[in-house]
Amino acid sequence: MKEAYLKVKNLTKHFPISNSLFRRTGFVHAVNQVSFELYQSETLGIVGESGSGKSTLGRVIMKLIQPTAGEVIYKGKNIFNEPEATIRRDMQMVFQDPYASLNPRMKVGDAIAEPLLAHHIVTGRKEAREKVCDLLHTVGLQPEMYNNFPHEFSGGQRQRISIARALGMAPKLLVCDEAASALDVSVQAQILNLFNNLKNGMDLTYLFISHDLAVVKYISSRILIMYLGEVMELADTEELFSKPLHPYTQALISAIPEPSTRRRKERILLEGDIPSSINLPEGCKFQSRCFKAMPECVYTHPPLSEVAPQHYVRCLLYPNQAGG
């Protein structure tokens, strides 16, 4: 059994909505009771459509947002009870929008050097400059770009700069929040390959958040499917693609476009949109759109059960076999 590197336990985040100063009208249930373990040196892909809470989950794990409830256990301690500095160097994040995640008024070299100096990883301007040039080289950019401003770069180059900035802290875990989604397909492939090379070279663990199952399939060793803030299915990548159990997963996989001229046999079409996360459905969160919905789905909330070793599903179709 592999060692759990990071344990997420019943993590919940509800955002209060208030339309006046004193009245609280409800909550956005962004993340609900999410639990999973992240293993050393793996890439866990988190997939879900817009509004499924995957980005919020990433931010809570990064301690950028305080959770409503739940724990993230790292090195035996709950990170929410620890001072900020303990996790900042080990966990880093690459953001979605390469055009917004760099300060437009700072030279990219200074932007990469800033956290190095703030955390005393390097001492002095000269050493910082050398380190920054190394980092630029690592992500496939020229060291001469030190003095350029972000607007002089393309989206892919900017994303490389963001990655270099995160790598400067020598992190062990990299949370990639839609890190390739804003790029066009060929650049996307370059960035994904860069992620893979870095992982092998630096023994990184990834939490790869994306809405694109094809991208996640390419890069992940395990995949977690989210819907309305809940874990729907969690399994190894091969297992998930060969034996998708949850109807939602099946629908997602059937929606991946295939580069083929033959007509596809079947495609599962889901109707409607993701329900509002303010007033959650009572039973299964997915039953309103599920093509296999049964009457009991409306009022019974299915638990997440391990139906095969390391394969978890939240669906009433699969009674709990492993745990009993």
């Binding site: 900020e84 900042r88 760099l102």
Partner: protein, 282 residues
Amino acid sequence: MIESRTFREAFFRNRLAVLGLIGVVLIALTGILAPILREYPSGYGSELYNQPSAKYPLGSDSMGLDIFAEVIWGSRSSFYISLMAVAVASLIGIPAGLISGYYKGWIGEVIDGTVDIFLTLPTLPLMIIIAAVMGPSITNVAIVIGLLAWPSLARITRNATLKISEMQFIEAARSLGINSKAILFKHIFLNIAGPVLVNLTLVMATAVLAESGLSFLGLGDPTTWSWGTILKKAWDAGAIIDTPNPWWWWLSPSLFITLYVVCFNMLGTGINDTLNPKNRED
């Protein structure tokens, strides 16, 4: 500043900005060098109501004093008042705006409420009352102007901060473990420096206008020459309605006030244009 070199290059390519800067520097130099340029005008002169001539470049007034000397010494006090007012306004206004924009909770609400209260106060009557209570001294006048200028500066800082603090690179900086002080005074301040600097130049300009107004109403320091004081003396002597009209007496201080305001505005616009890196590609 990190980008000082490129900023300087782009700034000097902007003709309007350079013109404004030259005007501001000239007025500042005149003020600083006033004791060397002309003797402090006081007492009585022998030649009243002289037209502009070689001896009196801007003419003389009803007491026979050299108006050129008065204007030079006036620019000294005007510049001093502007600097003091800006110092007072930015010491209160910029941190207040940054903090209320970045920490949105109750502390932001309290600061924003205070700004609202100050913005609703009628400036001119309040200025007159405070100036009257505090007594006529140009430092007092400058502090009063600064105290009444900070809310607008705080509001502008806050609005710009609100916009910038929601951007992803601020979140990125937080996830990189940069502390709040560095985020506020470096990341955010770099990005709001444009509107803030422009507003500061406006405060410099309005400070002179306000001072002239106060002096004209007789609430300035009667022992110090300022452009407003010259105008007041011209008005008291009836120079504005007299025939034949000693136009040089009231025209030169008015022109200098206008020039001062226009130069600072051009400088502010120039800084704003230059600070945006997208405008300096070619």
